[in-house]
Each structure stands twice: as C-alpha cells, then as structure tokens.
C-alpha cells in the first residue's frame, strides 16, 4: 500500500503543475534560507577544542581602582603583568599559560618574498600541551626556554609551506624583529574556531604564524596588539612599560580536570585577591570569575549578532513559506474533492485517504527539501564571498545535511496534515451529486 501511495504521490506532482511548482519552490526557498543561516550559526557556535574545552578555564581578577566603581561590575577580561606572572608561577593548576598577541616584522631569506608583518603569539610553555596543539616536526619549548628568554620559535604549517615548501625546517633560522630565531617546532593543522584563547584579536581571526616565548617577546620589545585597558593615569611609558603600568593586556588559561580542582582554584583566586586588597594593591572588593571555554564564549557573545538576526529572519521566512504551502496544498486537495468523493463512495476509509494525501505532501516536502539543499549550498557559497572574517568558515557538515532533510520533510508533512484532514472529510454524497 505504501509503495502504491508513493507512486500516486509522485503522479500527483504532475497534476496542477503550476501549483505544485509553487509549493516546491516555496518549501525550497524557506528551507534554503533557513539552512544557510543555521549552518552559519552552527559553525560559529561550535566547540573550538572538542574533548578539551570542558577542562580549560579562564581566571579573571579585578585590580582596578575605585574610580567609577559600581557593585556587581564585571572584572576586566584580561590580566595585568603582575597578576598574570604571579598566577603563572604559582602553578596551582595542572597546566597554565599566559599569553598575548602582536605583529612581528618577518624577513624571509628568499629575496622573492618581501618582508612583512606576521601575526604572532607570545606565550609560555604549557600553551602547546594544554591546548593539544599537534606538531608535525620538532617539539615545543619548555620552562627552561621561558626562563632564559631563548630565541626559539614554533611556526604554523602554513608558514612552513610558504617559506620551506612544507619540508622539515626544524633547526633552521627565522629572522623576526631583526633578530635570528631558531625554529624548534612546526605545527600541524590546528585552527580552533572561534579563536577562543584571545578574542581581542577578532573572534574568528586569522591564525598566528609564529609562536615565541612571552619573555623573549618582551625582551625584544615585540609589538603588542589587541586590547589594553588601563585605569588611573593609564600607561605613560609606551609599550615597553606595560609590565609596570596599571593595565590589563594578557590572557591566562588554566587546565583543571575535576570539580574539586576547580573549587580549589577558585578559592586560590579568592585568597590572592584578598591578600592583594590587604596589601593595598587592589582597591575593589574581591571580584573573581573562573569560566570554562563554553561559558567564556557565551559571555563574550562571540557569535555575531548579525548572524543571529539573519537566522531569525530566515526562520520568519520559512514560516511564511510554509503557510503559503499549506494554503496552496489545501487548494490542490480541494480541487480533487470530486475524485476523493468517488473513492470514498467506493469504500476507501478516511484513514486511507488521509494517508494518501499526507504521502503526497511528504513527497512535495522531499522534493522541496532537495531543492532547498541545493539552494542552501548556493547560499553558503554566497556567504563565503562576503567580507566578514567568519565567512570562509561557512561550510555544510554531515550533521547539518541530515538536519536539512529532517526539517524539510517534517515541516512539509506538518504543512500537509491540515489540508489532508480537511480534504478527507468531504461528504461523498454531496460530491457525487454535484457531478
């Protein structure tokens, strides 16, 4: 019976071609728009480090003065040098890394490539094991290099391809900030999205090409980029004075594996803040935060509001398209009232008619969904042509593909329920008489 209904449904598509085409088009447009925007949202709100992000935490302190203080205010999103170094050296977490970003002049040996400003991350040894950064050649640096301000660098796979044709470049020299650096490691493919560990360089920023020890970067006066928030008289000594200035400009991440260590770390932060307050360095009441990756991304609202607005718009559009389809489907079914009346008179039950009509609407949904999928792929291609920094990430994955199908079939079947129910309630006698 199912196969027969299916066949009937496909034949039904051929009847009233214009109406059917309108319905399929409406479903396809709605589904296409919806899936394009939902895929963008899905990509943007993804987990940057699946499996790891749950145990990574971002401590925040409030070292500011009482100027413009209001109770319940959020502490700054970054740490000052003094606090960052203290927390780093305290080593109270399983792993911890202090970091910031900047642009560094890079002079390639090849004459064919002009010197340029390369995006750099200045960080400490635990960055690599804590974030699970894969290395295709060599190793990352350790505490010793951090201590000795070693001129060592880990480079991205992309830079390695650009400068060394993808070959093992460990041991070679890279000239940064007019200084020779020894390459000790080459990263594999690693680009967590969003760029969670430093959202101040752009949430979906381009990835850093060079990674150098924070101590080395400060020693060589490497340029610091991103956000610097100061209080009091601010930073009066330029970038070289940032260590002493009342400013926050560093990101600090810790790895805490279980709830008890999270609680222990929280109380450590609490005690540190209280001590600093007693010592007179902090003026505000103790105000700490310890968010994990997901909470931090949510708090910073990394998903652009335009992307969310587009998703709402598309949802509204889908609703209009579906109402449109319900109306047209009803028209299509009612036009066949006479035929349905004959079938009823010949003994078909209401249930049988209902099933048949529902199958027909399901088939319209299926065809519309297929077309919608094509439209969504076109839509995503269009999104990738846009200028936003996240645009190039807009690709459909298996989960979204499956969701597209489910949404389209469910939506149009739902849209078919009402018309099918109305149409199968025709009074056979009346229809036969009208003939």
């Amino acid at each position: 019976m199912f196969a027969y209904y299916l066949e009937l449904a496909f034949r039904g598509l051929n009847r009233n071609r214009v109406l059917t085409a309108l319905m399929v088009l409406a479903v396809a447009l709605g589904i296409g728009a919806c899936m394009t925007t939902l895929t963008v949202l899905h990509v943007l709100s993804g987990d940057p480090l699946p499996g790891r992000s749950g145990s990574l935490y971002y401590p925040q302190l409030d070292p500011r003065d009482m100027d413009a203080y209001t109770p319940g205010v959020e502490p700054p999103g970054q740490l000052s040098w003094i606090d960052g170094m203290y927390l780093l050296r305290a080593k109270r977490a399983k792993r911890q890394a202090l970091m910031t970003g900047g642009m560094v002049p890079l002079q390639p040996e090849q004459a064919s490539i002009d010197p340029y400003h390369s995006e750099a991350r200045y960080t400490t040894a635990d960055f690599f094991p804590m974030f699970g950064v894969p290395l295709q050649y060599g190793t990352a640096w350790g505490d010793a290099e951090d201590q000795s301000k070693a001129r060592v660098v880990v480079i991205s796979a992309e830079l390695n391809n650009k400068l060394f044709g993808g070959k093992n470049s460990v041991g070679k020299t890279l000239r940064l900030q007019a200084t020779d650096f020894r390459i000790i490691g080459v990263m594999g493919d690693w680009r967590p999205n969003p760029h969670f560990y430093d959202l101040y360089m752009g949430s979906y920023a381009d990835y850093e090409e060079v990674y150098v020890p924070l101590s080395t970067a400060r020693d060589l006066h490497m340029d610091h980029d991103g956000s610097t928030d100061c209080w009091g008289n601010g930073n009066t000594g330029g970038q070289d004075n940032l260590e002493k200035a009342p400013c926050t400009w560093l990101q600090f991440w810790v790895e805490l594996d279980d709830p008890s260590s999270v609680a222990a770390y929280r109380s450590f932060l609490q005690h540190y803040s209280e001590d600093q307050r007693t010592a007179g360095r902090f003026e505000r009441p103790v105000n700490i935060r310890l968010r994990n990756v997901r909470e931090w991304l949510e708090f910073k609202q990394v998903v652009p509001s335009d992307a969310r607005l587009q998703a709402w718009l598309a949802l509204g559009f889908l609703v209009v398209c579906l109402i449109n389809t319900v109306g047209l489907m009803l028209a299509k079914f009612m036009r066949r009232a006479a035929e349905l009346g004959v079938r009823r008179a010949l003994g078909a039950s209401r249930r049988a008619l209902f099933g048949q009509l529902l199958m027909e609407s399901g088939v319209i949904g299926l065809v519309g969904g297929l077309l919608g999928l094509v439209l969504a792929l076109v839509g995503l291609w269009a999104v990738r042509q846009q200028p936003s920094d996240y645009a190039k990430l807009a690709h459909m994955d298996a989960a979204m593909l499956l969701l597209t199908f489910i949404v389209s079939v469910v939506a149009s079947t739902l849209a078919g329920v009402l018309p099918a129910w109305r149409a199968c309630r025709v009074a056979p006698a009346l229809q036969l008489k009208a003939q």
Partner: protein
C-alpha cells in the same frame, strides 16, 4: 460596492481565508521590520565624517628593526611627502577615521564627577586639522608652538609635572553641546585622567571617531591634542591632495617613502574613500541580505495570492457564469475579486501591525535597536495592498472573462 456578499462567501472558506490572512500578516510584520533595519544600516553607512574624504590618502608603515633616529626620520618623511606635486598637506596621526579599533578616554567637566559624562576619541598629530580638512566652527586651530612630543608628555606625566603639559584641546560641536548644553564652550575646561584640566580653544563642526563599536550615539565625540606622534603601531601618514590627483599621489608617496628608508614594511595604504567603504562592508552585505529577504517574501506571498485566487476563480466558475447571466457586468466580477482581496489584505495588515510591533520589541530587547517610528507601519501596509492588488489582477481578469453561457452547462 456592497461587501456583505463577499464576507458571506469568505465565511464559507474560513480555513483558507485564515491562512491567507496569516501569511499576509507575517509578511507585513517582517517586511516592516526589515525595511526599518535597512534604514538603520543606511543611516550608519551615510554618517558624516567631517573630513575631506575625497582628498585624502594614507600610508601605514612599520620599522623592521628598532630605530633610534625616529623623530628625524619622520621630519624627513613629512618634508618628502609635502614636496610631491599635488600634495596640499601631510601629517602623522595616531589613528585614522574609519579604523576598526580606536583610542578613547573619559572626559569630565568637573574633576569630582564619579561617572564621566562622555567618552571621546583622542586624535593626535601635528597639522591634523589642515590635513584632514576638518572645519572649525569657533575658536582657533592648535598653534605650532603648542605641540610637544608624545615621549615628552609621557615623561612629564611620570614625573608628575602636570603644569608643563600643553593645556589646550579642540573638541567637536556634538561634544560641546553634550557637555555644556546651550552655553559657550570656548574657554571652558575638560578634565582627563586624574583630573588634569585642558582648555577648549576651538570647536570643530564634525570629526567622526574611529572604531566599529563607537558607531551610534556619540559618533562625533572626538578631540584633537597638540601632541606630535612618533612612529608607533597604528600611526599612519595622512596626505591631502586634490581629488583627481590622489591615486597618482599615493603611488608617488610609496616610492618616495621607500627611497627615503627601504628598511620598512608598508602595512596599509589606500584612499580614504576606500577606507570608508571597507569600514562599512559588513553593513553593505547585511543591507543586501535584508533587501533580498524583503523581495523574496513579497514574491512568495504574491505567488501564494495568485495560486489561491486562481483556485477560487476556477471553483466559482459556475456561479460567476450565473451572475453574468443574471446581468452582472465584467467590471462587477473584476471588482468583486479585487474587493475580496482588499478585504483579506486589510485583515492581514491589521494583524501584521500587531506582529510588527511585537517583533520590534523583540529586536529592541535582543539587538539594542531603537523603537520603530510609526511611519514604517503605513509603508508596510501600502506595499502589501499594492502587492495584493497586483497579484489578484490576473485571476480576477480571468474570472471577468467567464462567459454567461457557463451557467447553462452542467459541469
């Protein structure tokens, strides 16, 4: 025309009518809000900058190594740039209008104020007013003898020799009106940092502040300081030229700067017009999407109206024939369907207005948008009426063409 027979007929198709009304309502609500959003974006993109955009190019440089002769280098660069034919003025600025990020600080009118009344952008660089082409409404420009180096400012601040700082500043009209509504701003003091006073000596008509996050209210809150910039990250040479020479001037300037010191990287270079256009690229893309959604919605809805109206016309073929046989003119039949559509659209619009208001409230809460002005409601209504009438015209004409003889046929 008597609308009672139409209403009675519609009552027999309650379900279909409800669907159509609902669809028109949703379309009307979304279209109203989308047009409003488009208007918001256009306002943003057409913000007044207060600078001579067509007459400006800029170059941002970075040194490869650490240099010691920075100030001499800059003086030579500026002299070199000014010697290029067609260049009217040049300056090294700490930040440019239409940069994505910005340097800002709190401004107080009384050092005892706990919460600063406003936050403004901080522009620095000798010869800024002339180079950017900012118009002074009142007072005077900063004088050459008032300028000091940024490094000297930092030294004075760290030694707490506040009295040796140059105590003058330029502000914009928007700032003056906000700080001292209805009063003369010239000669008044603003307080910065730990209560350091600066005297307003000039009021600029407009000067847009940089920073994507600073668009919106207070977009004209900018100040200009008598501070000479060294080459730092973010500083850029702004060059004023006649609009038609700018492309050539930019090319010559790059060659000249490279010749003066090849050991540098050009980070960014462009015309100010392009810089502005890049700044608003996301808004432009979003506007395009909003317009596309609007059109798609209206097309789908009008196709829906066409589909349903055609269905009704074919369903009522016989009764139309009867009416024609009983003396109704073609015009009567045409107007019948047009009025029917008008009634349904009006119901849809009425419901749509309520929905539009609801959606606007949602946007206000979640996207910090202002309240939609009431003028947008009639715009949405007019569009929907027009679309409805246009969509129903075809089926209605077909209905009017039904010959009276249909009434005598059995099927």
């Amino acid at each position: 025309m008597d609308i009672r027979p139409i209403l009675i007929t519609l009552r027999r198709h309650k379900f279909t009518c409800c669907l159509l009304v609902l669809q028109i309502a949703f379309t009307c609500a979304i279209v109203c809000n989308t047009i409003f959003l488009i208007g918001q974006r256009l306002d943003r993109m057409h913000v007044v900058s207060g600078i001579a955009e067509q007459e400006l190019v800029y170059v941002e440089l970075a040194d490869i190594g650490t240099r010691t002769d920075g100030d001499a280098r800059i003086a030579a660069d500026l002299a070199g740039l000014q010697s290029i034919p067609g260049v009217k003025a040049a300056a090294l600025l700490n930040q440019l209008p239409f940069n994505l990020g910005s340097d800002n600080f709190d401004v107080r009118t009384d050092p005892a104020q706990r919460i600063a009344p406003l936050n403004a952008a901080q522009y620095m660089g000798e010869n800024l007013v002339k180079t950017l082409g900012v118009r002074l409404e009142e007072g005077r420009d900063l004088r050459p003898e008032e300028y000091i180096d940024l490094s000297a400012v930092n030294t004075l601040l760290s030694q707490k020799q506040y009295d040796k700082l140059p105590a003058v500043v330029l502000i914009t009209r928007a700032m003056a009106d906000r700080l001292w509504p209805g009063q003369e701003a010239l000669g008044k003091q603003i307080y910065v940092g730990q209560g350091l006073p600066f005297t307003v000596v000039g009021v600029m008509a407009n000067l847009i502040r940089p920073g994507m996050d600073r668009m919106g209210p207070g977009v004209q809150y900018s100040t200009v300081w008598p501070i000479r910039m060294p080459m730092l990250s973010g500083t850029a040479y702004a060059i004023r030229c006649a609009a038609q020479d700018c492309d050539q001037v930019l090319k010559t300037a790059l060659v000249k700067l490279k010749k003066l010191d090849p050991n540098r990287i050009v980070l960014e270079k462009d015309t100010m017009e392009q810089h502005r256009s890049d700044f608003f690229q996301n808004d432009r893309a979003m506007t395009g999407i909003l317009v596309a959604v609007c059109i798609a919605l209206l097309v789908v809805t009008s196709l829906g109206i066409v589909g349903l109206a055609s269905f009704w016309v074919s369903q009522r073929n016989r009764s139309i024939g009867v009416r024609r046989a009983l003396g109704a003119t073609r015009g009567n039949i045409l107007r019948y369907f047009q009025t029917e559509n008008f009634l349904l659209t009006t119901m849809g619009i009425a419901l749509g207005m309520v929905l539009a208001y609801g959606i606007n409230l949602f946007l206000i809460v979640h996207y910090e948008l202002p309240r939609m002005p009431v003028t947008y409601f009639p715009v949405g209504a007019l569009i929907l009426w027009a679309i409805g009438q246009a969509a129903v015209l075809g089926p209605a004409l077909r209905a009017a063409a039904v010959p009276p003889v249909v009434a005598t046929r059995t099927v």
